[in-house]
């Protein structure tokens, strides 16, 4: 391999081209034509050309390749370069006197850029090669820009998702604050729901994306409480029958409220959120509210959030009750003291409950009240 320097009068184009021809005279002519524009590297056969190219695949702006050479000829060079993908990044020109034959067709199929006729016509060759090199450089710059923009958009989309989530959490926590909860309640419902769906057979058939949407939706299960008057929501001790009827409407009010936020509808979590808000107090035996759904009429996600809500309320102190121990809480749930649950749901829950309990450890002592 020989290198002829001639980095260009303006010095702006520092790139190199590779000239491959077994005849020294032909190499010298092409080198003379291009030394004004490029640093010209030459190779005297296909094997040498492949070695030079593969040692530095990004190092050349173009390749001028003779077809007929002893040993490894120009077509063979193309065939070996094809699988490397180099032909898509570096324009290769075949130097040939023969045109319109099967060789040309095959060369185009392999990804050659263009043909240079022999004997060479200087201004045509130079113009054509320079144009294509410029095109490739422009394309490279463009694709870098597009990639940059794609990454920026992706980053922005992630920020928006995070913001959405943050706002939903904040709003839900603010609602919980009204009846004296710490805001931790919604976080725990989120975590329990996620754990149940990801780590037990109860989440079978749901994709990771579905589970994320459901967990996000679970945060909003009690948004309807914003419509319940303080006198009822924050009342210590037992509610009267009338008061309890009002309290129960937090489910339907929640679903209505969510339906009124047009931006919510485009979220994947939307349909889950509405369903969960309305149905997290339904029970397996049909004795829950507001619709008295029974068994599989209640969606799996509403069932999971319903159970998570009861478990979290039992194991933490509320204005109308003290905190129960885990054992006592589980016994009450299994004995149906908080309404009937799907036996399969309970089975799955008992499986992961120790892991869920560990999520609570280390968290600050709960100071909560109010599952109703």
């Amino acid at each position: 391999m020989t290198t002829q320097t001639g980095a260009g009068a303006d010095g702006a184009r520092a790139s190199r081209i590779l000239v491959v021809d077994d005849e020294e005279i032909n190499r010298l002519i092409l080198a003379a034509l291009f030394e004004e524009h490029f640093e010209v590297v030459t190779a005297s056969d296909g094997q040498e050309a492949l070695e030079v190219l593969l040692a530095d695949p990004g190092g050349f702006a173009a390749v001028l390749l003779d077809v007929m050479m002893p040993n490894v000829d120009g077509m063979e060079v193309l065939k070996r370069l094809k699988p490397t993908g180099l032909l898509e990044r570096v324009p290769v020109f075949l130097i040939t006197a023969e045109r319109g034959n099967a060789v040309m067709e095959e060369a185009y199929r392999l990804g050659v850029m263009d043909f240079i006729g022999k004997p060479v016509v200087p201004y045509v060759v130079v113009r054509r090669v320079l144009s294509v090199v410029e095109l490739f450089e422009a394309r490279k710059r463009l694709s870098l820009t597009v990639e940059d923009q794609r990454l920026q958009l992706l980053e922005r989309a992630e920020q928006i998702i995070e913001l959405n989530r943050g706002m939903i959490e904040s709003l839900s926590a603010a609602i919980e604050f009204r009846d004296g909860e710490s805001g931790e309640h919604v976080r725990r419902i989120h975590d329990i729901t996620r754990t149940m769906l990801l780590e037990t057979p109860f989440g079978e058939g749901l994709s990771a994306e579905d589970v994320d949407d459901i967990a996000l939706a679970s945060i909003m299960h009690d948004v309807g409480k914003i419509a319940i008057p303080d006198a009822i929501l924050c009342k210590p001790g037992r509610l009267t029958a009338e008061e309890f009827e009002v309290m129960k409407t937090h489910t339907t009010q929640g679903a209505v409220l969510l339906g009124r936020i047009p931006q919510m509808r485009s979220l994947g979590a939307y349909r889950y959120a509405v369903d969960i808000a309305r149905h997290h107090h339904e029970r397996w035996d049909g004795r829950g509210y507001p619709d008295g759904l029974a068994g599989d009429e209640i969606s799996p996600w509403a069932q999971v959030v319903g159970l998570a809500d009861v478990y979290d309320a039992l194991t933490n102190r509320r204005v109308y009750k003290p905190a129960f121990t885990r054992e006592e809480s589980l016994r009450m749930i299994c004995d149906g003291e908080c309404g009937a649950f799907n036996p399969r749901l309970l089975e799955c829950f008992l499986e992961v409950e120790p892991a869920i309990a560990r999520l609570y450890e280390g968290a600050e002592a709960p100071e909560t009240e109010g599952e109703r």
Binding site: N26, I29, A32, M68, P70, K118, P119
Partner: protein, 116 residues
């Protein structure tokens, strides 16, 4: 460099210089290198050995170089030789050897006369 001597030897000097951006120095250098080029001799060897494949290779190489250096007659004859061999008529291509020999000799003599 004496253009008329080279022209009489069968070289289109203006055409060749055009390819070299007018550089007589480079043309002189390349013509000097042509004297060391082995493709004509390889063609003769192929004719003697009756080897069509080697004949094509040599004729093709000579065609490329003579074309780039605007050696009109040599280029014409080697172009025809290549076509004939590719068409399967090696005997006819071989028959061009004498004519090619005289065209090659003229070019060679002209270059040597210019003492390049």
């Amino acid at each position: 460099m004496r253009h008329e001597v080279l022209a009489a030897g069968g070289i289109d000097v203006d055409d060749a210089l055009g390819r070299l951006m007018g550089s007589e120095k480079l043309l002189a250098r390349l013509l000097g290198k042509f004297l060391d080029d082995t493709s004509y001799q390889r063609f003769l060897d192929a004719v003697a050995a009756d080897d069509a494949e080697a004949g094509l290779e040599a004729a093709h190489a000579l065609k490329g170089v003579s074309g780039n250096l605007s050696m009109v007659r040599v280029h014409e004859l080697t172009t025809r030789a290549c076509e004939l061999i590719r068409a399967g008529d090696w005997p006819a291509a071989r028959g061009l050897a004498d004519e090619l020999g005289s065209a090659y000799s003229s070019v060679k003599a002209a270059i040597e006369a210019c003492e390049l």
